[in-house]
């Protein structure tokens, strides 16, 4: 097995074995979306109108819940030191660990979105596009979260600070993610231009975020 694949498989296995990360994120997503209609009242048209935005905001919050795990456990038990001396460069390590976070958090959350969409009266024909949008946008969510996770490494109660640092960076993802879904439901215009912007944001994050995360990791290990 190549070093990169070994690290990816290990991270996915760890997330699965330790269970908490995926379960808590999915549970949080469910609860947040489920209480929205109680706060907004039973106006089905209103719910359908705001459903994409609600689903996206809740997804970002749920993904952030497990973001500090990207590096925290490996930092605590010294694994990060050994990973840093290994044959893979640190940006590559950061990229693989972000990818593992996307596989274990981004994809399950995106796949759960249509089920929760039912609670918000999201039109059925908009669901495939919503899932597609989320699958395209969540890589940016995981990779940018890795920057926050590496910056807050070694701090107590880093989760809240991480959210403060990272949530503003999610604004472009949110804007283009929601507008793709809204275009599909209420129009006017084609949903594809914002969708392509979303893909571009994800691709740029995949390339740039690991470099920033690696720089922060170097500082944290000093």
């Amino acid at each position: 097995m190549s070093p990169a694949l070994a690290l990816l498989v290990r991270d996915v296995k760890l997330a699965w074995r330790e269970g908490g990360a995926i379960g808590v994120a999915l549970g949080f997503y469910l609860v947040v979306v489920a209480i929205m209609p109680f706060g907004l009242g039973p106006d089905l048209n209103l719910l359908a109108h705001i459903a994409p935005g609600m689903l996206w905001v809740a997804l970002l919050l749920a993904a952030l819940l497990s973001a500090d795990r990207i590096f925290h456990n490996d930092y605590e038990d010294g694994t990060l030191d050994v990973l840093a001396t290994g044959p893979q460069s640190l940006p590559m390590v950061a990229a693989i660990k972000s990818l593992a976070h996307w596989l274990t958090t981004g994809i399950p959350l995106a796949l759960m979105a249509p089920v929760l969409g039912l609670l918000l009266n999201l039109p059925l024909d908009a669901m495939p596009l919503l899932v597609l949008t989320m699958l395209a946008g969540t890589p940016a969510v995981s990779f940018v979260a890795a920057i926050g996770a590496s910056l807050t490494l070694g701090l107590r109660r880093s989760g809240l600070l991480l959210a403060l640092l990272v949530l503003p960076l999610y604004v472009p993802v949110l804007i283009f993610g929601v507008s793709t879904a809204s275009m599909a439901i209420v129009g006017p215009g084609s949903p594809w231009p914002p969708f392509l912007m979303l893909c571009a944001i994800s691709l740029a994050s995949i390339v740039l975020a690991p470099l920033a995360a690696a720089a922060a990791l170097r500082t944290a290990m000093r």
Binding site: M1, S2, R10, L14, G78, D81, V82, T85, P87
Partner: protein, 209 residues
């Protein structure tokens, strides 16, 4: 067993600063293949920092480190095994899975795995979750990483902590075997080892003087 190594490690006037304080400066040594360096000195004089600098985890405040005999462009850190105070063990993996990951990640041959497990007598525990290990067993598992993938330079920071007498002997013998194949070891320890150290480095002397 490991391939003979021909790598020599040299430090030229290196210095270390932590929190604005200079721990040591003007430190130079050269280790030929098969030589070991014993690092001693009181607490807080930079033994761990020196090892972490060689492993590339801490920046050098001054000076440089060179490894001769390695492929050009290979950073010194990639030639090193660093076993520090933290064990780098995943508690939800079994002992065998922990080692198997390091074999894969450090790009070594998987055939090294049984030997690595046997090195400190962990073969019977291979399927046990690493979270159930005692402190001494965890230390043995961390040290077994040295055998999971061959690296010419061993950086051992207090490797004998929480090991029993028999295991310290195994460790001692492992270091000697490593030196025989041309490896280099830098060991910071307060326990008397039978390994013949070619050089000794006592940190914190100038401050006491």
């Amino acid at each position: 067993m490991q391939m003979p190594s021909h790598i020599a490690l040299a430090a030229h006037d290196i210095a270390c600063q932590r929190g604005g304080r200079t721990l040591f400066q003007g430190l130079s040594f050269t280790l030929e293949p098969g030589e070991a360096l014993l690092i001693s000195g009181p607490n807080g004089t930079g033994k761990t920092s020196l090892l972490r600098q060689i492993a590339g985890l801490l920046p050098l405040a001054a000076g440089r480190l060179t490894a001769t005999g390695a492929e050009a462009g290979t950073p010194v850190s990639e030639l090193c095994h660093y076993v520090g105070h933290l064990s780098a063990i995943k508690t939800s993996f079994s002992v065998g899975e922990n080692l198997a990951f390091w074999t894969d990640f450090l790009d070594a041959d998987e055939s090294a795995l049984p030997e690595a497990l046997a090195a400190f007598g962990l073969t019977p525990l291979a399927d046990l979750p690493a979270g159930l290990l005692s402190a001494g067993q965890r230390r043995k598992l961390a040290l077994s990483r040295l055998f999971a993938a061959p690296c010419p330079i061993w950086l051992l920071d207090e490797p004998s902590v929480s090991l029993d007498t028999a295991s310290v002997k195994l460790l001692d013998a492992a270091i000697r075997d490593h030196l025989k194949t041309g490896g280099i070891a830098l060991v910071s320890t307060h326990v008397k080892l039978k390994t013949k150290f070619a050089q000794e480095l006592t940190l914190g002397q100038e401050r006491a003087a």
